[in-house]
Amino acid sequence: MRSARLGRGVFAAIVLAAFLVGVFAQRGGLVDSIVKYRGDIVFLTQQHMQLVAISGGLAIAVGVPLGLWLSRPVMRGAAESIMQALNLGSTIPTLAVLALAMSLLGIGVVPAIFGLWVSSLLPIVRNTYAGMLGVPVYLVEAANGMGMRPMQILQAVEVPNALYVIFAGIRTALAINVGTAPLAFLIGGGGLGELIFTGIDLNEPGMMLAGALPTALLAVLVDFLVGVLAFWVVPRGVNPLR
């Protein structure tokens, strides 16, 4: 079929392009200059992942309950305004958030984690809120009519049905987190940003790529892993992928 061949053709083209880039890189000594930084890469990747894990973990720990709370009927009036404020907050660029965190908390790992936490919070809260509101009202009505208490309905009906959308929010937030964590270097938080920014400053593409490539790979990896987690955790009945 035409579209299958098109797909294969594109895939082949990408592989070929990657190969050519690789050959070109090796001839230019690029690969060697990247490998030179192995030690740094390993160390900084660990630092990077720590930043992501802590800020991301905290974002989930605060964001999901917050989103749940906002979706409750008692919050109906206030929730819209709060979501508006949060949406407003999400338009503020991460660099600005980190900069403001630095002016409040100084330099180092703490403001970096704080800044990344704030940036990751918003997609999670928004998706949790939207996911919960998206649970069909008649399911809650049926559960109520059967004699389930509000907490039971939340646990057994509402959250499972919102889980797919909640996971989508977590996935987006974490991928963004990994991708913007390099900026943490600028305020003293460490991470792979060190190689990237220094590489640009010193005009050493090798160093820059030594930071950039692992970051990009990490972002893809994190996105993939959360995707796999979502696939297995979200109950089959509400999982469009299963």
């Binding site: 399911l139 049926a142 059967m146 004699g147 057994a156 009906v157 509400v238």
Partner: protein, 377 residues
Amino acid sequence: MIRLENLTKAFDTPAGTVIAVDRINLEVGGGEICVLLGPSGCGKTTTLKMINRLIEPTSGKIYIDGKDTDRQDPVELRRTIGYVIQQIGLFPNMTVEENICVVPKLLGWDLDKARERASELLATINLEPALFLKRYPKELSGGQQQRVGVARALAADPPVLLMDEPFGAIDPINREVIQDEFLKMHRRLKKTVMFVSHDIDEAVKMADKVAIFRAGKLEQFASPDEILAHPANTFIADFVGTDRTLKRLRLIRVGDALEPRAPTLVDNDSVERVRELMREHGQKIMVVVDAVGRPQGYLDRDVVASRPGTAADHRAALPATVRVDDDLRTAVSRMFMHDVRWMACVDRDGVFAGFVSQRGITRLLGETYRDPTKRAN
């Protein structure tokens, strides 16, 4: 079993107080199906939802099995009442088995007992347990989902079942089938059922008693035949439709409308004998049957009046037959189709059981109008 006493619900709206349900009094006996019927906004759904306290009554009392529902915790109350809604509401994140076991688990049943019950119920609704227990709602057809919804409501074996337009979401063809299945199941389980509908035909088919609502008031509460034959006012007469007498035909079995038994003929009866029997019983038409009693044809008095021979020589084929278990609507429809005013009826084995005639049917339908205790009010 369910008794409503002066049940009232008033809502406060920006436009003033709206009385959605106005002093309803009715009683549904154990094992009966009561249909709440009426146009949109008449208060029937509100009334239903007050029974399981999804909506709190403004005043009035509800008694289930003699107990005042006010005295019970609403959540506990709901666990003893089966509830089925129009959108069905099977939880998509749970398997069929888990869905059915929800209320038993809430009541603290042993898990194995609950699972066994789920299996049993699936068998009752004609879904093979081995195949369906572990399926998810998204893997079921609309009709299957609806049946599982009913099974879920019956899981904890509640004495009372409340249903809010339960068959509304199913296409008309499947709806007939599912309604029949529900009736069959009800004959066996004998639950007290209260259900809301806006479809007069559904109510006529399913109900033991129909409660007609308008603008919050109960206009009439009686059996379907009573409502069709003696609607209490013009609103109800209009609501049930101008063809209401035809609707009544559906409620009567052919077997209950048979003419008094007349003798039958066999093939080698002589024509003289035929004439004699016809004269004796005042019949114009008689059926010829075989050795077992199955109809072979009929003889008309005019045809045998002046001809020699046997029954076999002159019999004509029966234009059509109808079964004793069919309803009169089918019989009348067939009569129209074949342009006859009478029809031969056979039982399940095909043996001749008697005649129905148009005259006899209209006389039967008219009985209720000649009954002095039922004079129009």
